[in-house]
């Protein structure tokens, strides 16, 4: 645990990362150093880490090198903090819960009206607010732990009392979406790291195969037994500008039918025959 100083962190401006407030970068930070790190009380530290965690998870798809390893570590850290917050909020002072001694502000009263599960903003006991993880999960698909952690289950559900929940500005009154975010987004964070085998999709396939699955049942050979062929196609090879279209291999009909189908200009001719018969 880092040493805690009695000095007021607000004098330092706190760490406002993720809230649009720029932090001045010291010179040594600019050159790759660490810069001075003011000692923060534990709750502020935890909040800072939580903010950073969310920011990083949000940005993980925009990075040059998406890394499943990194995302898993971030998600685990996030979950750990959530568990801690839930434990702190959920344990009444009577139980010997190992709460850090610096949380002096009293926990909010649990007399909250029942609120839908997925709310926009969650406030910590210290009064700071950050976007609810449920919103975050919808956006990021953060997986794991969402069932068990108190941040996602509102006091109205009787789980955690220590958190006051307010609606975010982004959702009117009630909240949008449903808590089935997890199932929907279960793969959206971790699933996006899969490398598919599609890199050679376009180069591996033969030209014919691309059209393999086109439904040609309309052109069943039995309907065309009396089809008359233009003499130009009698030789068996398509000519003219339609040369690039090879016969569909899935056609089971005779070669005459194939030759007929390859000529798109004959479509009208075919329609006449169909309509005629």
């Amino acid at each position: 645990m880092e040493g805690r100083q009695p000095s007021d962190t607000m004098a330092h401006g706190g760490y406002m990362l993720g809230r649009g407030v720029k932090r001045k970068m010291s010179e040594c930070e600019a050159s790759g150093g660490l810069g001075p790190v003011p000692e923060l009380p534990y709750p502020q530290q935890r909040q800072l880490v939580l903010d950073l965690c969310l920011n990083k998870l949000q940005g993980c798809h925009t990075r040059a090198e998406p890394s499943l390893h990194r995302s898993v570590l971030l998600a685990n850290t996030l979950r750990h903090i959530q568990e801690e917050l839930r434990r702190e909020g959920g344990d009444p002072p009577a139980t010997p819960a190992p709460t850090p001694p610096h949380i002096a502000t009293p926990l909010h009263s649990p007399d909250m009206p029942p609120i839908p599960l997925d709310c926009g903003v969650i406030c910590s006991p210290t009064g700071d607010c950050w976007p609810a993880l449920s919103i975050a999960t919808k956006e990021l698909g953060v997986v794991g732990g969402s069932q068990g952690t108190g941040l996602l289950t509102c006091p109205g559900c009787g789980e955690s009392d220590g958190l006051s929940v307010t609606s975010s500005s982004s959702s009117e009154g009630g909240c949008g979406g449903d808590l089935a975010v997890d199932t929907r987004s279960s793969d959206s964070l971790f699933g996006s790291f899969e490398i598919t085998n599609s890199t050679s999709y376009l180069t591996d396939l033969a030209f014919d195969d691309i059209f393999e699955d086109i439904d040609t049942s309309m052109y069943d050979s039995s309907d065309f037994s009396v089809l008359a062929l233009p003499p130009a196609r009698g030789s068996g090879a398509p000519t003219g500008p339609e040369d690039s279209l090879k016969p569909f291999p899935s056609c089971t009909s005779s070669s005459t039918l194939q030759l007929c189908l390859t000529d798109l200009n004959d479509l009208d001719h075919i329609m006449e025959i169909l309509v005629g018969s």
Binding site: C28, G33, T77, S198
Partner: protein, 515 residues
Amino acid sequence: MKKLDGLRHESRCNRLATTLCACPNVTPDATEQRSKTAFRPAEGFCVAKEAAGTRVEGADGEAGLRRGGTAMAGGNDFQWCFSQVKGAIDEDVAEADIISTVEFNYSGELLATGDKGGRVVIFQREQESKNRPHSRGEYNVYSTFQSHEPEFDYLKSLEIEEKINKIRWLPQQNAAHFLLSTNDKTIKLWKISERDKRAEGYNLKDEDGRLRDPFRITSLRVPVLMPMDLMVEASPRRIFANAHTYHINSISVNSDHETYLSADDLRINLWHLEITDRSFNIVDIKPANMEELTEVITAAECHPHQCNVFVYSSSKGTIRLCDMRAAALCDRHTKFFEEPEDPSSRSFFSEIISSISDVKFSHSGRYMMTRDYLSVKVWDLNMENRPVETYQVHEYLRSKLCSLYENDCIFDKFECCWNGSDGAIMTGSYNNFFRMFDRNSRRDITLEASRESSKPRAMLKPRKVCAGGKRKKDEISVDSLDFNKKILHTAWHPKENVIAVAATNNLYIFQDKIN
């Protein structure tokens, strides 16, 4: 990463081939003072921490040092001197030039590097000449080739990087050399062969290659083999593709010299070197529900002698040893190595810094070494509940973890390596520092790979980091460290005291002065 046109590619290869500090014919100064020991314990800082009550007497290590080749000094006194540096000195480094892996071959004659641009550069050691008995063989460029190209995953709209994640040499069986190189997705087997003769005196074509008019030929001759300038060719012999859904982080050649394993974040596959269209999946930790994913595979290695044994490390700081004889799918480990967490040092970042970035068996096969963010641990394969040795690499960073988390440095993956006798280990740090630990004398040293100390055969000065309090002269304070200069990849010659250290786009080669 953009695909490079041929001209830029070549110019970069030339830059890499330039030895900036060639060692000219320097006669050793007979009056040169040699300090007594280079391996001095850093004052008040980073002494190897012993696991309580489990100190290894270093039986293997000591004997190994004595057994070591004549090049090894009898004692543990290494004096590292600058030998060479490869790479450009430009201030702005092209990302493609950043070295991503370094590996000596089994004899130490060849040194391979891979970079982010997908290229492999192989250096070969020159034979020692009688003229300069005191200067050891230099490493000069032997072969350069483009191993991997960037690919595009159409379904996911993602670029697959061409960065070479790992290179592993195969034991040499004939005149040619073989190595495996891998990026995130595909492993390739490359054959590097020499050609130093060519046939001359063809009948049907002349020296330029132009065809001769057959009617003009009046006599026949037998072509003869003439020596030519050495040409080194690299050709891909096998391509092992489409077996990994996640990013490959490790490859390891098995002791049977027929198979090798490749590991990604969630799976490990076993391949036969001759067969490219099939691989066996031997470890799969992907949960049925990806929501439950909390742990990934970070590294894997085959045992150096037992071809049925391998280990893999995880992001939670655990190592699992598996025996392939037990089951086809080695999801259940044979041994499980984990050190209980020290509750007094618990922090938000405890799990992140416990993630193991590299695991390496000792040459003897009796120990393995793991590297996590702040330390290196040596494990006895017969003891699972804690390591036998723990070495702090840069403990002064423990109080800075929040900042390192912020700038993402906490996710850096450092590698580690053994020396040939298993008596010493080496790993990298920030500010272009790298650390060496002598397992027997328990001494450690911090050295720097920098241009300033790049004079021919200049002895490296030990560096010290001031963790706090009054900074002494020659010490550097933690806040002044450059975290953009990180040494992630190092390699130690299998037989001699020669080390290769990759510092961003430069490769430094240091040698131990002959005592």
